[in-house]
């Protein structure tokens, strides 16, 4: 390297202490983002095999009409577990793994912003997976479909514990995903190398950044729904149980308010992969970076808005459908922009058809088809005819396999040399590519026709109608081609890891920073960084006579970065808002019509009002604590902190007394919808207050130990912010639960 390169500011100090760890135990205890990334990807691979075997059993059962190969009950379990596994235990961990490995390298960082939180998020994945699969030994896996439609998922209709395991495991995975989302956002905001401004981010990193915002907003919605489902099942409540006055449609709203963004949560990283691989193997910069990046924001925004198109067949009424037809069609515009940009990048390029590129081109073509059938589903009238048929199965497998799995396979072939230092075998790669492409299209193209011929989905077998038998057989044969492709792929991983050609730093002559370090990178990632002036620093470095145009800086926030604890708490508050929004909306909905039994009028407005004043006052005291800390008055700060804890404690005791009073008068969680919604909403808020109190006690301990004396207390500010948020939520809860009944 030339002496011209700039040293990373942190690298000198860290390089001295960084020693690569060895042994199995070091993989369990690691907090290195690269190792965690690899762990994510290996976990995902294991579950890919599990979910794949489940898929093959499904296809075997459906291969011939009137089959009794596995039987209806087993079939339902297989099809539920296949869907759940592939979404939550394969696609998401795989993309998190890639993001974990690649994103910090692409932005020239040393690690993620919160390495320990990162390890925590990862370990939730295998534990969540084990929890889900343990249901097989507890009387049967869940068999209500991965969407868990109520009331089928409720106790009277699914009495085995499978649904509970399902909900708990998704809750565990959801918490891990939110943590990952927060970590990625804060990493991009605070850990970028000097001069890696936000507008110079490589597209994969940019899309993971935008994606993390949907992640932290959408997952809490599901978490809230899962908590409500568990309360129904475990405590005998009836949120989603029509026979108890609840609403089964409410579950669908909650599930799809999460489920639609979820499609983009796994699709946006795939778009990011295409945006990295296609330019490198076309030997051209991406066509219209700004449009690819900007349309990502539009997709993220729209994805949160249009979930009701998953519910056209539910009978929401013409008025609602009309609006969602229009808004769903809109999403074709930003995705179309992306397809055009990738095609224009290919156009006129010197295309090199290595395995990563092959997978990405196939993903592009298949995604186009998925998009077209997707647009057809946005039209409600057509949707009524095809929604519950194999046409829809074909559509979403074109998205999830045709786009996402293919993009992931492309990404693995692309970044494998960086991860291991060795190239994957091109010969085996091409074998797996062609087997996969033929198998995939054989399996799923024909399912469009099966659906149009009237074959319904979610059935374990079918009568011998004209054409159905052979079409299903073709589909099954295709699935086994995909199985074979996966075997070749895994063999390729194994053998290339051991005997592959040595890769060198930058085997693909790519331009982003991850290729500027050795393969595999050292623990500290970079010893030197090339100067960053544009979006392709390695191109500029290699071609100093004709560099890319400089991407300038204009706004302060492009170059500066927020304090990371502060940023993470803000992101966490964003995600918590989604969680509480669902609970508050549910409360409003369930208590809108007065029913028999306890209601909001039975609550003691005055007493709770007094306790609430204590909570609101604690917002003031923690602010005073921050001010005292700022001025270096340590004793005053400790006093204010202690007062905050006392005030918060009074509030919790007050809430406990209120609960006790209600219990005394015979009000239980499952008394009626009001009591269920009331205990759920105030209970979760109380939990948050308790969590805040624990955090404050830790702070108090630190303060007494003199940790904040040097004038630097990011933890205090961050916890203070969280505490204010808990208070603001209580203002809303108090108005909705206690004040609203008196206004009506």
């Amino acid at each position: 390297m030339s002496p011209n390169v700039s040293a990373h500011p942190h690298s000198v100090a860290i390089a001295a202490e960084a020693e690569p760890e060895r042994g199995m135990l070091s993989w369990v205890t690691t907090v290195d983002h690269k190792r965690i990334g690899i762990l994510y990807m290996l976990t995902s691979l294991v579950f890919f095999v599990v979910g794949g075997i489940e898929a093959l059993f499904i296809r075997l059962q459906l291969a011939v009409p009137n089959s009794t190969f596995v039987g209806p009950d087993t079939y339902n379990m297989l099809f539920t577990m296949h869907g759940t596994t592939m979404i939550f235990l394969v696609a998401m961990p795989m993309l998190f793994g890639l993001a974990n490995y690649v994103l910090p390298l692409q932005i020239g960082a040393r690690d993620m912003a919160f390495p320990r939180l990162n390890a925590f998020s990862f370990w939730l994945v295998p534990f969540g997976g084990v929890l889900l699969h343990f249901s097989y030994f507890s009387g049967g896996a869940p068999s209500m479909g991965w969407f868990a439609y109520a009331p089928l998922s409720e106790l009277p209709y699914s009495s085995q514990a499978g649904v509970d395991y399902w909900a708990l495991s998704l809750l565990v995975l959801g918490i891990g995903s939110v943590a990952t989302g927060i970590n990625l956002i804060v990493t991009v905001l605070t850990q970028r190398a000097p001069n890696m401004t936000l507008r110079r981010l490589p597209l994969f990193s940019w899309m993971m950044f935008v994606n993390s915002f949907i992640l932290i907003l959408a997952l809490p919605v599901l978490n809230a729904g899962l908590a409500m489902l568990l309360i129904d099942r475990q405590l005998g409540a009836g949120f989603f149980l029509p026979s108890a006055g609840g609403s089964a449609i409410m579950w669908q709203h909650i599930f799809w308010a999460f489920g639609h963004p979820e499609v983009y949560i796994v699709a946006l990283p795939a778009f990011g992969i295409l945006s990295e691989v296609i330019p490198v193997f076309s030997r051209k910069p991406i066509f219209g970076y700004e449009f690819v990046a900007g349309s990502t924001v539009a997709i993220a925004f729209l994805s949160l808005l249009v979930w009701a198109h998953h519910m056209f067949t539910l009978g929401l009424g013409h008025t609602v459908e009309l609006f969602f037809v229009a808004s769903s069609l809109l999403i074709a515009i930003p995705t179309g922009v992306k397809v055009l940009n990738w095609s224009a990048t290919l156009y006129g390029g010197r295309i090199k058809l290595d395995t990563p590129m092959l997978f990405c081109i196939a993903a592009l073509v298949q995604f186009l088809l998925a998009g077209l059938t997707g647009v057809s589903h946005a039209v409600a009238a057509l949707d009524w005819q095809t929604k519950n048929s194999y046409y829809l199965v074909a559509h979403f497998h074109f998205v999830f396999v045709g786009l996402i799995v293919f993009a992931i396979l492309g990404a693995v072939h692309y970044w494998f040399p960086k991860t291991t230092g060795r190239m994957m075998s091109e010969k085996l790669g091409k074998w797996s590519f062609w087997l996969m492409t033929i198998g995939f299209n054989l399996t799923f193209i024909i399912q469009h026709f099966l659906g149009l011929a009237g074959m319904p989905r979610r059935i374990y077998t079918y009568p011998d109608l004209p054409g159905w038998g052979w079409m299903n057989m073709v589909s099954t044969v295709g699935a086994f081609f995909m199985g074979a492709a996966s075997l070749v792929f895994v063999w390729n991983l194994w053998i290339s890891r051991r005997k592959g050609r040595i890769a060198g730093d930058n085997p693909w002559h790519a331009w982003t920073l991850e290729w500027a370090t050795s393969s595999p990178p050292p623990v500290e990632n970079f010893n030197f960084l090339p100067p960053i002036r544009s979006r392709r620093p390695l191109w500029d470095f290699a071609n100093p006579d004709r560099p890319d145009p400089v991407v300038g800086t204009k706004w302060k926030m492009e170059t500066s970065s927020p304090e990371k604890n502060h940023a993470s708490v803000v992101a966490f508050i964003f995600s918590e808002t989604g969680f509480f929004a669902v609970l508050i909306l549910a409360y409003l909905y369930y208590t809108a019509k007065p029913g028999s039994g306890p209601s909001g009028h039975d609550l003691d407005l005055l007493k709770t009002g007094l306790f609430s004043v204590c909570l609101f006052a604690s917002s003031f005291t923690i602010w005073r604590a921050e001010v005292s800390q700022h001025h270096g008055r340590n004793h005053a700060m400790i006093a204010w902190l202690a007062l905050t804890i006392v005030l918060g404690g009074i509030f919790i005791v007050g809430q406990g007394l209120e609960y006790w009073g209600l219990f005394e008068s015979g009000v239980r969680v499952n008394s009626n919808l009001f009591s269920t919604a009331f205990f759920t909403l105030t209970g979760f808020h109380g939990l948050h207050v308790c969590a805040g109190l624990i955090a404050l006690l830790v702070l108090l301990g630190l303060a007494c130990a003199g940790d904040f004396k040097n004038g630097h207390a990011p933890g205090l500010k961050a916890i203070g912010l969280y505490w204010h948020f808990v208070d603001v939520v209580w203002i809303l809860v108090f108005s909705v639960v206690y004040l609203l009944p008196h206004l009506r």
């Binding site: 507008r199 924001v297 925004f301 706004w555």
Partner: protein, 259 residues
């Protein structure tokens, strides 16, 4: 009364409104020497007059909640946005009270106006009482201007930076969507005055209920959906403008400092 008759005769004549708009049109060129953006001002005034005088206003005046919602959105988002765009480029807004320049205040003004006026009793009162209705109209224009000032202030340094603006607009959209969702799916009536209009001077009610097939329930749904979906598209358009602003300066040929 048929639809065609209504469109012809449903116009209201409000001398105060017309007079104020005429005064504003006269004063703009006097107050501002730089008249290059007068077109925006003119457009804002035309839309304002159409909203307040056209048959839409008659419908919003006791017949249709959805018409009221359309008016509400135009007065809160469209007209103030255009007013901000009509201010001369060099004008600084920093002279006013300082707290008005706080982004959260602007956000709260825009979002709060939506929530505040849809509290059931206030929603009814604004239809039933003339003074409250006038107050509502003026407050929407003022609060809307406070909201847009963070995004569309004439001077670039008085606006939010694009990423912050995207978050500002996005969170405003989500917050208003939530209200839209509540109105759409609420099992109770939000603005009960529209269920049974107090007077039907025009004899329009049969046309609305039978010919247009808009029942009170459907009316409320349309109102909620207008707030949920098209209103968010206005925010989305603004977000697009912010993204364009963000990337527009991307190719400045300014040599970056290398440390």
């Amino acid at each position: 009364m048929t639809t065609a008759q209504f469109i012809l005769s449903g116009w209201t004549w409000n001398p105060v409104t017309v007079g104020l708009v005429a005064l504003a049109l006269v004063f703009y060129p006097i107050v501002f020497r730089d008249r290059r953006r007068f077109g925006w001002f003119l457009a804002a005034m035309v839309i304002l007059l159409l909203t307040l005088l056209s048959p839409l206003n008659t419908l919003a005046d006791g017949y249709l909640f959805s018409a009221h919602m359309t008016q509400h959105i135009v007065l809160l988002l469209v007209v103030p946005g255009m007013l901000m765009l009509s201010l001369p480029q060099q004008l600084s807004l920093a002279r006013g009270p300082r707290f008005l320049a706080i982004p959260f205040v602007g956000w709260l003004a825009g979002v709060g106006a939506m929530w505040f006026w849809h509290e059931p009793s206030l929603c009814n009162a604004a239809v039933a009482s003339r003074p409250i209705h006038a107050l509502q109209t003026i407050s929407l224009l003022v609060l809307g201007s406070l909201f847009w000032r963070q995004i569309l202030a004439p001077r670039d340094n008085e606006r939010l930076s694009p990423p912050a603006a995207v978050l500002y607009l996005f969170s405003a959209c989500v917050t208003c969507s939530i209200l839209g969702i509540i109105i759409t799916f609420s099992p109770v009536t939000v603005c009960s005055i529209y269920t049974v209009p107090p007077t039907d001077a025009l004899g329009l009610l049969p046309t609305i209920r039978d010919r247009w097939a808009i029942s009170p329930e459907r009316d409320q749904q349309i109102g909620g959906l207008l707030m949920w979906v098209p209103m968010c598209l206005i925010y989305l358009a603004a977000i697009f403008a912010q993204i364009a602003r963000w990337f527009a300066h991307a190719r400045q040929l300014v040599p970056a400092k290398t440390s």
